[in-house]
């Protein structure tokens, strides 16, 4: 039985395909269209999912959609009714897409896919809940979903037991922890629904002491937090409920200045505001989790929703709450709901026995050796071939040790926003200049942003102060932990200003080639850790095809591309016409 899940029209459109209980393919549309956070109907992602199994849409038993469009429309109309006449501008800009697309989902699906079967609609937060619980390793677990907004819900909690999910309570729009984070992201001059993680990274540079950070006290006026983690926003500080902006003038006044322009220099004030926001986020998140634990009496917690990507807060879950185990959907944002939808239909609605655990994120397209060779030759690209796997590992490890930057393109593309060893840029973390080099010459991104370390799971405790055993979400780069002090100076490029690292752990069973490369690098350089950053430049989605990878390498400071068994050296090839520096955007 095949079931297709679709998420689209808000941000991060995606599709996922389930075959007899197993997720066999999943991808975000942005990877194919090359538009970051693409919201369009995911026709390319669907095509990939179906082609990966050699089927057409008529083989599908069901198609699931990630929300109830009419409930969402009710909320949107309520906003316009509440805020008439202030909402005129957003009404004019948003209504055409509702009339043309969002309210015609069934028609669109059937027309685009030539599909005649059933389309099911699963509530947004239920899809989030299913995306974390039903594919988790737990038979029984508490569930927390936190995002910007679904239909009406912005935060919900409940419990899962075998195939059942019961979402017990919710917090409703306009009160939203995710939108609070987005509003401050906008205030700090970053792009909403894109750069929240930059604010999280920036927070490490600010004053993290809630007693002395004055912005913490000021931001507490914006949000009322109860002991059970529920919260209420003072909406006079926001305009997102009716405008296409987020912070109000009152919020600007509270924070002592206007919205930062992107080109404006980041000052200590901005960093302190980011730190204050992160402190408040963690306070709410921890209180919520403790309350959920009390209510559900479960020792396992599963998390989804865009806020589940806040890896700084995630890294503190097991220390600061009573939960013993945690699992987070690697695509915790809206993209992940397509996996939630198919899992909910197959396991909950159709009552099939749970057999699948999502233990890796390699669900995207891959390219065969023949396809890659054809691409290289058709484009007259000079390359070398590794004789065997061993040579590939040894030569690549040596190149990294010599401070070369490697574009690593192997196997199936990752699912979710993080590159986890299939479409990664790898570099030497012991090189103190690597961070500046990668930020400025390769990624063209802000200097303050840290890089993530990747380490084999069995070595993680030697270098990082992780929870024991190392939690599974660490495999998806979803937990930040302190780097052990004695290693701070030895791996400076992956040690953030506050001594933390957003590590990725890798188990051999997940990706043997990547695992062996890291081990080999450890043999040569004494420290088995690599810098792993996504294979893209700022503002571009992660590369998907060999062409994307080659184009990215040729337009940036990447020295070598290791693509399947082929080694492409940038210097051996003519400079590509594409100028990545000019293309870098937020």
């Amino acid at each position: 039985m095949y079931i297709l899940g679709i998420s689209c029209y808000y941000h991060d459109s995606s599709a996922a395909l389930l075959k007899d209980g197993k997720i066999v393919a999943a991808a975000e549309e942005e990877r194919f269209t090359r538009k970051k956070h693409d919201t369009s109907f995911p026709v390319n992602a669907i095509k990939y999912c179906l082609q990966s199994q050699g089927i057409s849409a008529n083989k599908l038993s069901y198609i699931g959609f990630y929300e109830k469009p009419l409930l969402k429309f009710e909320r949107v109309l309520s906003q316009h009714l509440q805020f008439f006449p202030h909402s005129l501008k957003t009404f004019l800009s948003s209504m055409p897409s509702w009339v043309n697309d969002k309210l015609r989902v069934t028609k669109k699906i059937k027309k685009e896919l030539k599909y005649k079967g059933d389309v099911l609609f699963i509530q947004h937060h239920l899809a989030h809940a299913a995306s974390c619980f039903l594919v988790s390793p737990f038979k029984k677990a508490a569930i927390l979903t936190v995002d910007g907004v679904g239909e009406w819900t912005t935060t919900s909690y409940g419990a899962g037991d075998a195939n059942e999910i019961n979402l017990m309570k919710e917090i409703r729009f306009p009160h939203s922890l995710g939108l609070l984070y987005s509003a401050i992201t906008a205030y700090l001059g970053f792009k909403v629904n894109n750069s929240e993680y930059k604010v999280m990274g920036l927070s490490a540079y600010g004053n993290k002491n809630s007693r002395t950070n004055t912005y913490y006290r000021r931001l507490k006026k914006v949000i009322d937090i109860k002991d059970d983690g529920s919260y209420y926003l003072d909406m006079s500080y926001f305009v997102y409920q009716y405008a296409d902006r987020m912070p109000s003038r009152k919020l600007c006044k509270l924070l002592g200045g206007g919205v930062r322009q992107y080109s404006e220099k980041l000052t200590q004030r901005h960093k302190d505001i980011a730190a204050a926001l992160q402190l408040i986020y963690e306070e709410v998140f921890t209180k919520m989790l403790n309350y959920v634990h009390k209510e559900t009496e479960c020792e396992n917690i599963t998390i989804a929703g865009g806020c589940g990507l806040n890896s700084v807060a995630n890294g503190k879950i097991l220390q600061q709450t009573a939960f013993k185990n945690v699992w987070i959907q690697p695509a915790a944002g809206d993209a992940g709901t397509s996996i939630g939808v198919v899992s909910y239909i197959y396991y909950t609605l159709l009552r099939n026995k749970r057999t699948y655990i999502q233990d890796n994120a390699f669900l995207g397209p891959s390219y065969s050796k023949t396809e890659i060779k054809r691409f290289l030759e058709n484009n007259k690209i000079k390359y070398n071939i590794f004789k065997n796997r061993q040579e590939l590992i040894q030569k690549t490890a040596k190149l990294i040790l010599q401070n070369n930057v490697i574009g690593w393109f192997q196997g199936r593309m990752e699912w979710g926003p993080r590159a986890l060893g299939s479409r990664s840029i790898l570099a030497n973390p012991c090189n103190p200049e690597a961070q500046d080099l990668l930020n400025l010459k390769v990624k063209h991104r802000e200097k303050f942003r840290p890089f993530a370390p990747v380490v084999c799971e069995d070595d993680a405790l030697e270098y990082f102060e992780c929870d024991k055993p190392v939690p599974a979400p660490t495999d998806f780069m979803l937990m930040v932990y302190p780097v052990k002090k004695k290693w701070h100076k030895k791996i400076p490029s992956v040690t953030h200003i506050d001594g933390s690292g957003r590590l990725q752990t890798i188990r051999r069973s997940q990706n043997p080639l990547y695992y062996d490369l890291i081990k080999e690098f450890g043999k040569l350089g004494k420290i088995p850790i690599l810098i792993n950053t996504s294979f893209n430049i700022r503002g571009e989605p992660i590369v998907c095809t060999p062409y994307d990878a080659y184009r990215c390498m040729m337009g940036t400071g990447i020295d070598y591309l290791v693509i399947d068994k082929f080694l492409v050296k940038r210097e051996d090839n003519q400079k590509h016409i594409w100028d990545s520096e000019k293309s870098a955007r937020d």
């Binding site: 109830k68 009419l70 009714l81 006449p85 309570k169 306009p174 009322d224 109860k226 909950t348 609605l349």
Partner: protein, 81 residues
């Protein structure tokens, strides 16, 4: 040259058509907003109806509200609401 002219003419006509449709759509939507949303909104305001939760915050012990979202018969999931 004629082909080029035809192509350019077609492109220009298309852009013109798109601009016209944007203007007409905006005008229609403006009327819908003014009459549909406006009248309902004014009536709702007069009768003190609130569409979003803006109650006085201090009056509550918790901001969690009941959801109780559990499995329903599969027919329920065919609906878009």
């Amino acid at each position: 040259m004629i082909t080029q002219f035809t192509k350019g003419f077609k492109k220009g006509s298309k852009a013109f058509g798109e601009n016209i449709s944007i203007i007409v759509n905006s005008l229609l939507l403006f009327i819908v907003y003014l009459i549909g949303v406006g009248i309902v909104s004014v009536i709702a305001k007069l009768s003190n109806k609130r569409f979003l939760d803006y109650q006085e915050k201090k009056s509550r012990d918790t901001y969690w509200s009941g959801l109780n979202l559990t499995q329903k018969p599969i027919e329920e999931y065919y609906r878009q609401f």
